[in-house]
Amino acid sequence: MTAPLDVDTPIADLSRRLAAAERENDELLKLVVAARQLGESTTTRAALAAIRDIIVTVIGSEDFAIYVVEPDGAIRWVSGMGCFGAVSRHFKLEEGPLGKAVAARSVYVAEEMQAGLDHLDGWPFAAAVPFVLGDRLLGAFAIFRTLPHREPLTMRADGEVLRLVGVQAAAALAIGDLLARDTSPDLVTA
């Protein structure tokens, strides 16, 4: 007697592989969109606008703030959105979850957010992404709350796009700053 043919398992495997491929495709789409938008920014103003747009559209937050890091270590607010993010508030490197994350030059996601275990001096705090270009720390953005209908941020699902935005944003801001300082006719008309 021959063994029964198993036709269901290969189909289930293929379905799982297709679902995984579609999820990866979605993630790649986010990376491509974020990279292209930041790569096309040639002024500081355009870079900040692109960062804001990406946080709303790709990451999914309308409560965030963008900061620059001053030479004295102050983290100074430059732009933001939302009831926490629009408040001009300054922090210091090494202090609090934001200051520590920025000083560590690595993406930080407060995955305990749901349990209310993470906060920034009483404010909700979901993530911090430093803008690092080589050995230069230019700034950061902090997300206070994500949109209510999206899943909470996690390093596993969102780490790659957050890291990419951090690096590309740093490059865009550096280019904007460089072009703003250099007013030579050859560079402007090139």
């Binding site: 789409l29 491509v32 938008q37 709303v56």
Partner: protein, 127 residues
């Protein structure tokens, strides 16, 4: 069979790019506008098969643009999807009252968007 034409109206360059990349992975022709007023004019000129319409836009928001399209006899029956970051009930109610067909929330999920589009454009845009 002619390819289906989809109009994307959004003032966010990032959102426009994202939707274009999603739609161009399927055989759709994509046209764009960057505010509600331009969206209505382009819709009247191009007669798309479906419209993806952002809600918060300068000059004319998505609700008003949707109402304007619905008042045009040539656009009365085309599917209009409102694309928004807000999923609250009052926003959804306002959207349906303006005449939209469907809601899509940002960040846009590619699989969800294409499934909804295909439910209104059966057969997709395959030539």
């Amino acid at each position: 069979m002619a390819r289906k034409k989809i109009l994307v109206v959004d003032d966010s360059p990032t959102s426009l790019l994202w939707q274009q990349l999603i739609l161009r992975s399927e055989p759709f022709d994509v046209i764009t506008a960057t505010d509600g007023d331009e969206g209505v004019r382009v819709a009247q000129a191009e007669q798309p098969d479906l419209v993806l319409l952002d809600v918060v836009m300068p000059r004319m928001n998505g609700f008003d643009a949707c109402r304007a399209m619905r008042s045009d006899p040539g656009l009365r029956d085309i599917p209009i999807f409102l694309v928004t970051t807000r999923s609250e009930m009052n926003n959804v109610t306002a959207g349906y009252e303006s005449g939209c067909t469907e809601f899509v929330t940002k960040p846009i999920d590619k699989v969800e968007l294409l499934a909804k589009i295909h439910s209104y454009l059966p057969g997709g845009g395959a030539a």
